[in-house]
Subunit: 219 residues, 2 copies
């Protein structure tokens, strides 16, 4: 498939264009650190934004859910969607209220979702989702049954039309403000995993696996 | 203003209705723990989903941004928007791939945004945004100038038509799966603040304030 020239008129970052990122590998890095996206679609003229998990396999994003879900039924009709992934990295405190800001990395993907009908790709898509969220887990869990696969829909969204916006680095004040008497700096923010909690019905002797013990989204 | 009966047909939770929350106070609690929302709006038939911060003041959500921003210019035309706030609380690992899940709390608000024109409400909206993200900061920073207020737009979205979806508690497996030989339990997830980092140009002797030192989103 010939690659689209990035950005398109629809994905070009207008505000703070110095924060724009159109590089595919840089976008993949953001997508791979996150696993929660917000999916936008339109029904009866009303936009809806729904959080859901995703996996990435090459230039495809996979979403899944109940075959009965309103969102998935809408999406597989081939309506335009917007998938947004946002990572928050910190609060930037400066001297002026006005220049307070945040460090973040966000990706916006425009496109259409397609229902994955091929059973092999469907299973691979589910595996990609699982391994994206928690690498190592798929092979350690009971595999999906025919019935479970039947009630699950998998959608593929091509990563074709996209852009990212990234704000990084120290806070910045107007030259005149540096002498204003207040603290300035960064409060770093990160999605962190706490200590794993055993299921109350866990059989004795089942140790916490390594992929759970050291869970982190940083690459 | 007479209160809308919740849920409406558009905000009723269809999938997993036992996870639905329509109680206003419970929804406020979720909104108050978060400060990042994803705003959905439609332009030329294409949905867009953009991350931005928000503040809450009673039954109003305030958003802000550059008066030149594409999103804000769209929104202040009174187009329908969807504002979604999602808090991730944990990964649920069970025996079957199929029953893996997450604990989360999410709020969806449908409505229309209005540009705040009254200077007093505009300043109050900006203060609400600032105090929502970082309580105590507003009074410690240099106040907005006339010029800064002019290039900033503030929008108000009424919290009228909304619903929340909440998944909490331990993981659940099918009865037959409990003997499957794998670890099961919860990986708790939380947006956490790291140690504050002084701005490189901080004047000597400016200590990190309490509201920065103990920054946490938990109420």
């Amino acid at each position: 498939m010939p690659e689209m020239q990035m950005p398109t008129a629809r994905t070009r970052v207008v505000r703070e264009p110095d924060r724009a990122v159109y590089d595919r590998e840089a976008v993949y890095q953001i997508l791979d650190e996150g696993f929660l996206c917000h999916v936008g679609f339109v029904a009866d003229g009303q936009p809806f934004v729904i959080p859901t998990s995703y996996g990435r396999e090459g230039a495809s994003l996979y979403l899944h859910g109940s075959a009965a879900s309103r969102m998935l039924r809408q999406m597989r009709e081939g309506v335009p969607v917007c998938i947004t992934v946002t990572l928050l990295d910190g609060l930037l405190l400066v001297r002026s209220v006005f220049n307070h800001s945040m460090n973040y990395r966000s990706v916006v993907i425009l496109g259409k979702a397609a229902l994955v009908e091929d059973p092999k790709e469907k299973l691979a898509g589910l595996r990609a989702l699982s391994e994206h969220i928690l690498p190592g887990r798929w092979d350690q869990a009971r595999q999906p049954s025919e019935r479970e696969l039947k009630v699950t829909s998998v959608l593929r969204v091509p990563i074709e039309e996209f852009s990212a916006k990234v704000r990084t680095g120290p806070p910045v004040d107007d030259a005149d403000d540096y002498s204003f008497p207040t603290w300035a700096g960064v409060i770093p923010l990160e999605m962190k995993a706490g200590a794993p909690i055993d299921d109350q019905r866990l059989e004795p002797g089942r140790a916490v696996p390594e992929y759970v013990k050291n869970y982190s989204r940083k690459g």
